[in-house]
């Protein structure tokens, strides 16, 4: 059945959205750690 491509599209879309969100979390974490480091140096 041709509808199988919709099944895979849905599963891939789910993990792409989760991966994108996790990526933004990692980026925000590293930016904040960098800021904390700079603040520590300034002191």
């Amino acid at each position: 059945m041709n509808s199988i491509k919709f099944l895979f599209a849905a599963y891939i879309a789910t993990w792409v959205i989760h991966a994108f969100y996790l990526g933004t979390l990692v980026r925000r974490f590293s930016r904040l750690r960098q800021q904390l480091k700079e603040l520590g140096k300034a002191k």
Binding site: N2, F6, T14, I17, L22, L25, Q35, L36, A42
Partner: protein, 303 residues
């Protein structure tokens, strides 16, 4: 704690892989009408349930954040929640209500259990997240809830296209109310991101309380309105092969574990962000103080 997170992450990854294996494997039968595309249910429905749970936690955290300003308000909220739990549970077993619920395809025991969860979650949230942490929890659950709600809105049309022949049913109450729910929580996050007012947290909490009112509308819309969306598979009029239901529940458990870990990370991120903001504020205060001290002898000498 530092070791616990990677261990739980690995366990959750294994759990998600197992759920995926069950969802796509031969353990679950193929649907006679839809074929294999029905397997989208194993991602679509758990994502929806997880989003609803996160929005409900956001609602309880927001109510407690608003109520904590005054002890009388706090006590009133506490007694209202207890009353909702007790009255709702008893009402579900009153014969007339029971008859009404059964006519809608709902199980009274399922309704009573759901109602009992309201005070349970409310007090658990208040106990585990005192003070400002309620606000941190609120923003965490709203953001992760929006991610899960986005998945519902993306996988839904992908499932609808081969089954209904259309991507979206305009005017359908289930679909529209879910979209409205997503928009409300996106506006909640936008408000928190771009407003610098001292009242932002209070305003966001008030918005979250109104936003959460859409959750029961989304959930119960398929019982009370004519809609293209199928009937619920648990506690409702829909039916499901026990093997499919088993995989659906395993998939939900896996997604709940994943959501818990993502919330944990987002919670830590929010705490870190507040720490950085506080450090910046202290630094500017110290800078302003030093500048005023330095300018003092100058101003005296100039006189």
């Amino acid at each position: 704690m530092k070791r616990l997170f990677p261990i739980l992450s690995v366990l959750t990854a294994i759990f998600l892989a197992y759920a995926l294996h069950l969802a796509l494997g031969k353990a679950t039968p193929t649907d006679a009408q839809q074929g294999d595309v029905y397997r989208i249910i194993y991602y679509h429905v758990p994502s929806a349930w997880t989003a609803f749970l996160l929005f409900f936690i956001n609602f309880t955290a927001s109510v407690q954040y608003l109520a904590r300003a005054k002890p009388s308000r706090q006590a009133a909220a506490k007694w209202i929640v207890i009353a909702v739990g007790v009255v709702g549970t008893i009402a579900a077993f009153v014969p007339r209500v029971q008859l009404q619920l059964t006519s809608y395809g709902m199980r009274p025991s399922a309704i009573a259990t759901t109602v009992l969860m309201i005070p349970a979650i409310y007090f658990l949230v208040g106990w585990l997240f005192p003070g400002e942490r309620l606000d941190v929890l609120a923003v965490t659950t709203a953001e992760v809830g929006v991610v899960f709600c986005t998945i519902v809105l993306v996988t839904g049309p992908i499932w609808a296209r081969p089954v209904w022949g259309i991507w979206w049913a305009p005017g359908d109450i289930r679909l529209t109310s879910t979209l409205v729910l997503w928009l409300i929580y996106v506006s909640y996050l936008v408000l928190r991101r771009f407003s610098n007012s001292a009242q932002t947290q209070m305003l966001a909490a008030a918005l979250a309380v109104f936003g959460a009112l859409d959750v029961p509308l989304v959930y119960f819309s398929i019982w009370f309105f004519r809609t293209q969306h199928p009937q619920p598979v648990i506690g409702g009029g829909g039916s499901m092969d026990p093997r499919m239901l088993h995989v659906l529940l395993i998939s939900w458990m896996a997604f709940l574990c994943f959501a818990f870990l993502v919330c944990w990370s987002r919670f830590r991120l929010e705490l870190l962000q507040r720490e950085v903001e506080e450090a910046h504020a202290m630094e500017s205060l110290a800078g302003a103080d030093a500048a005023s001290r330095a300018s003092l002898p100058l101003s005296r000498s100039s006189k």
